[in-house]
């Protein structure tokens, strides 16, 4: 049985449609209800919905052979997994945003609020800027408004939330999209099935 961890939510549903088109369907998955694990024994696949940020953990620890995780999660937690394909969905960008009109005072340590401490630290190390990381778990946008931080490092999709809070992107760090990931050991023992899925998804990505 090939165990597949999908992220709960809109992205997961979009990705499942791609998996189904590649020949790995499991119609029960889209039925309403609270069930979290779905089998299609004929095709030898088992899907389960998990919190998007947990997909990489399920895959790295072998509970899932493959899964779909955002590049932001892979960069932040660096799980020891294979990254087989860029699915080119769930596209957004990791960016630095600041209150409109912000000017960086290089004489002061820059206070950075973020959920993505490692990405922020790596980025500012690469540009040689001394920073103070303020790790938050949500509502990052209000940190500079309340004077908790100078800037934020966060995922930006449309930029609407930033605009509504008088913030704007001042630097783009890295583009983000959903990636197909595989457990390194699981890949060795289910190579044929995983390759077939990767090839099918790869064709869909090219056609999109």
């Amino acid at each position: 049985m090939l165990n597949i961890a999908l992220p709960k939510g809109r992205l997961g549903e979009k990705v499942y449609a791609m998996f189904a088109k590649a020949g790995f369907e499991c119609p029960e998955l889209l039925e309403p209800g609270r069930k979290l694990i779905f089998d299609n024994e004929d095709l030898g696949v088992r899907y389960f919905w998990v919190k998007p940020s947990d997909v990489a953990i399920y895959v790295e620890r072998g509970a899932a052979d493959i899964g779909v995780a955002g590049k932001d999660i892979l960069l932040e937690y660096r799980p020891d997994v294979y990254e087989l394909l860029d699915l080119k969905v769930g596209k957004c960008r990791m960016a630095v945003a600041a209150p409109n009109g912000f000017r960086d005072d290089m004489n002061r340590t820059l206070r950075v609020a973020t959920k993505f401490s490692r990405i922020a630290r790596d980025y500012y190390t690469s540009v040689g800027r001394d920073i103070d990381i303020i790790h938050l778990n949500g509502s990052i946008e209000i940190a500079p408004i309340l004077g908790l931080s100078d800037v934020i490092v966060d995922i930006v999709e449309t930029g609407t939330t930033l605009k509504e809070n008088n913030l704007s992107v001042i630097e783009e760090i890295v583009p983000i999209s959903a990636r197909l990931i595989a457990n390194k050991s699981g890949f060795k023992f289910r190579t044929e099935q995983i390759e077939r899925l990767t090839d099918g998804l790869g064709k869909e990505v090219l056609q999109a």
Partner: protein
């Protein structure tokens, strides 16, 4: 007195079987102290599996460390033996930072090292013992083998810059082919060389199926002799009952500052990470002032905790 082996844990039984396997092939037990001077590890930090070493000051004021690695201690404490081959095995605990434990963890390893005149026969024997080690643990296993010299030749052809080269190697270790294309595009690097590396990484399978293509591709990048060496190292498996257990896979990477030549990792079905890791480390030997060549591997016994009795019995 007869020892009742039912009182042993699975790992203990496997460790005795491994020690017996290695000593049966002429390997001598190497014993070492639990401690080393911290300086050894601070000078070779990148060789270690994890950051962080447990340190303490001994009675003479020296800064000591609980060993996080076995190979460094063996290399440090042993002299070159020109013209001979020294075959050693060990059963030791190491102390490493474990992401899973969110702190330090004691880990048990059984492994072997060959130092001195390491030739094709020796490399083939080490690979064979790696496979036999996996077979003692489970019937469902795979040994993936790559050659870091070949990988290095391909990456060198793409990027002279060390930082970019490392980013490409990281992608290679993740089978992240789109990442390699992206790095080549962003840095305006040679597209042909990038595509060649992608072709190399896409070639995984048994030696019989992929070696002819690897030889052909390696010739183009001046790595023909290294491909021939890899071919000789795995030739003994072709036609044997182990043929399907051996996979050539260039995503088995290692730090090129220490490792060279053949590199390999062992996997067992149902265990999420590699349970065995090894390779040639002539570069580490040079870095530590030794002229001898070297190859070795370690079996991570703690990883075997999740194996069921049934799987071990089938092995």
């Amino acid at each position: 007195m007869q020892i009742d082996d039912s009182v042993m844990t699975r790992q203990e039984r496997i460790s005795f079987m491994l020690r017996s396997l290695y000593s049966g092939h002429g390997y001598e037990r190497y014993r070492m102290s639990k401690f080393e001077e911290y300086d050894l590890y601070s000078r070779n930090k990148d060789f270690l599996f994890s950051d962080g070493v447990i340190t303490f000051t001994d009675t003479t004021g020296r800064l000591m460390a609980l060993k996080p690695d076995v190979t460094l201690s063996i290399v440090k404490n042993r002299k070159d033996t020109p013209g001979t081959l020294q075959k050693l095995y060990y059963h030791e605990n190491v102390y490493r930072v474990s992401a899973a434990a969110d702190g330090f963890r004691e880990q048990t390893q059984v492994g072997l090292e060959c130092m001195g005149e390491v030739n094709d026969t020796c490399i083939a024997e080490v690979l064979r013992l790696a496979v036999e080690s996996l077979r003692l643990c489970s019937a469902e296993f795979v040994l993936e083998i790559s050659h870091l010299g070949i990988l290095n030749a391909f990456v060198d052809a793409i990027a002279p810059d060390e930082k970019v080269k490392q980013a490409i190697l990281d992608c290679a270790g993740q089978k992240n082919l789109h990442g390699i294309s992206g790095i080549c595009r962003e840095n305006h690097l040679a597209e042909g060389a990038g595509n060649a590396l992608i072709r190399l990484l896409s070639l995984y399978g048994t030696p019989r199926t992929v070696m002819p293509k690897i030889r052909e591709l390696a010739e183009e990048y001046g790595a023909g002799e290294m491909a021939a060496q890899l071919g000789r190292a795995v030739a003994g498996f072709t036609g044997s009952d182990l043929e399907n257990k051996i996979l050539i896979d260039f995503s088995a990477t290692g730090d090129l500052r220490y490792y060279n030549g053949v590199a390999f990792k062992g996997f067992i079905s149902g265990i999420p990470g590699s349970v065995l890791s090894g390779g040639q480390y002539d570069k580490l030997m040079r870095k530590m002032g030794r002229k001898d060549r070297a190859i070795g591997f370690a079996v991570f016994l703690d990883m075997l905790e999740r194996l069921t009795e049934e799987e071990t019995d089938r092995a």
